[in-house]
Symmetry: C2
């Protein structure tokens, strides 16, 4: 068991469940899928206090708490827990690893039951819609009919949007953060360079690498590119500027070694320990292919069917998923007379702003959830009296 | 000889000259250096019509015209030629490949006279100041006492700034375009990822690769990253958006292939044919280390010594060398009461704006050069009468 670090939630454990398979957007039939997920808080009797949290590209089911086995701390520890913005004393929180991922859910490293070998690049291409589909199967298994809220940043926001559009009866609140309806050319471009870094690493070997010879250099470079795009130029300047990491050492190829170089190298090296290169290919491709209206013939009608209220959040300093993209979502929903609250927060952390402790984001999330939950309960109460 | 393509200047040929060595900023003594350069137009009797053009990271001496041997077209063909913004009917234009480069000037691929092997990573670290120092030796050789103007974009702008500061008697006009006084953290970060892509390519082999086994994948990835930063998100969206390059082919690893992916792959592949990976390391490091005031103890005094007039140009859509960085240069010069004209042009091509045909940039350059040249000649005439 891991050493106790610190988390208001203490030790937690994810579970993995085998669920019935489904047909992906591109027509592949999974015989079954495994989904790794975490539950926090307690499901109430009415089952109306469920919040589904969606993770981003490099996330996993461990949204908060400390993993009993690995000792890892949840990626949204600052926002999810007792008394926090997403209050586990009040809400029953679920977070699951996406399919295509590498943290317990079926993905390229899983054994393909048809061949008894890891899928590797025989894994089918997946879409954000497929990720959500897998989550609906998890909720069926957990016997949860409806979500009070679905919340996610970046790729998590795309999943939240898909929930609201494709499963309108199941979503009361939809909170997409720092996201978009479809990747722009520059967003695709950054991901493509990451993919090229991986597949041009000789160790990639058409995806058939072994655990002791993975394309780690390629994945590290991909992660470094990502890291630059997650931060704002302003915060990088504040954190690193032109500071030197240390005096040159004989092994250095140049006489100057900047702190920002050291930081990026460290980010790349630590990422390869916890992420699978093929997963990186599949998930970034899912991001690039994402189109909220994929396979939807009548967009206007589909939007009309949406029943959830929206809280849409963007960050002024986010140049990877700029506020303009969130505003486009707001516009489309408002045009259809949907209930939308939009906040563009003035943090300077860039795209990473949703992951970093921020009193404003905390307040916005907390108060929106509280007010809406209170309203919902009053309505339920009234419905009860009306019976 | 190459097939005639089209250039107002017709066929041109660069020359390579062996010049006395010099001591670099970091203390390495070159026994000698080779400099590859191009001359366009005619030096006048007074030798007051010399314009030195400085190239950027991936540039070379072929600023304009068509190379007689390779058929390549100059990188600033749109701005340099008879009747163009930088008019070769009026001015004698010189452009030389930087030291550390791979297009005819001494660089990592050159033979180290001390070992009779290519320098590779035994090449000394070089600075922007060293690049300029090498150019002063070229001008001595050409018996040119003074530059009417020194002009350059991006890394070329840094060289122009160094000329004005370190050789104040030799520069009449200084025209730095889309540049900065020192790289910021995010500028260093993008270059560092490119370098990591190269040195983590197994073919890099500590820099001792052979011509048939170069770290081409690493260099291609580095170039792709660069290309994204040279364009604006807006122009990428206009050029590519989410357009597909073609229907999926059996060899594709994913069922969707975007045009922007194809574009980046092409840019990467074509770059490796014309650029040396070690050169890429040295030159990007020179960019990152660049500090206009490097080795200058009394900055205020040094700035006071500057004699040149400045035309400083930035582009609103340039997020790699944002206008803010040009404004910092303007501020420092204005505070010292130097003559500065500053233009922030509203093109939407991002950093690449200075390379792309643009009527506004053409007009600004042409008129500034014309007016200043006319003024200079009137002054010379007056000086003559006064004798």
């Amino acid at each position: 068991m891991a050493k106790k670090y610190y988390s208001d939630l203490g030790f937690v454990s994810t579970k993995t469940v085998r669920l019935p398979g489904f047909r992906t957007s591109f027509g592949y039939q999974f015989p079954y899928i495994d989904i790794n997920y975490l539950e926090l808080g307690t499901l109430n009797e009415n089952k109306d206090n469920v919040i589904l949290i969606e993770h981003a590209l490099s996330g996993n089911a461990l949204v908060s708490g400390q993993d009993k086995e690995t000792g890892a701390i949840g990626w949204w520890e600052d926002y999810v827990g007792p008394g926090k913005a997403i209050d586990t004393n009040q809400f029953y929180v679920i977070c699951s690893n996406v399919i295509g991922g590498c943290n317990g859910s079926t993905g390229p490293t899983s054994i393909n039951p048809l061949t008894n070998r890891p899928f590797n690049m025989e894994f089918p291409p997946i879409t954000i819609q497929d990720m959500v589909k897998a989550q609906t199967l998890l909720l069926d298994y957990l016997e949860i009919p409806k979500l009070f809220a679905v919340i996610g940043g970046s790729m998590g926001g795309m999943q939240a949007l898909v929930w609201a559009l494709e499963y309108p009866e199941k979503v009361h609140l939809c909170i997409p953060i720092a996201t978009c309806m479809a990747h722009s050319a520059i967003q695709i471009a950054f991901n493509e360079v990451g993919r090229q870094a991986i597949i041009s690493d000789p160790n990639w070997n058409n995806g058939n690498y072994t655990p002791d010879k993975r394309p780690e250099h390629g994945l590290a470079v991909a992660r470094m590119i990502g890291h630059i795009t997650y931060l704002s130029a302003e915060i990088m300047e504040k954190k690193f500027g032109r500071r030197l990491q240390r005096s040159p050492e004989p092994s250095d190829i140049f006489p100057v070694f900047f702190s920002v170089e050291s930081y990026l190298q460290y980010q790349g090296e630590s990422f390869v320990k916890r992420f699978d290169p093929n997963s990186y290919l599949y998930i970034t491709k899912a991001l690039d292919m994402f189109d909220w209206f994929y396979n939807i013939t009548n967009v206007e009608e589909a939007i009309q069917q949406i029943k959830s209220k929206f809280l849409i959040i963007s960050f002024e300093s986010d140049w990877l998923y700029p506020p303009e993209q969130s505003k486009q979502i707001v516009k489309i929903l408002k045009r259809a007379n949907k209930s939308v609250t939009y906040m563009n927060l003035n943090t300077n952390y860039g795209h990473d702003s949703f992951l970093i402790p921020n009193p404003e984001l905390t307040t916005v999330l907390r108060s929106f959830l509280e007010v809406e939950y209170h309203t919902l309960q009053q309505k339920n109460q009234a419905d009860l009296y009306a019976l």
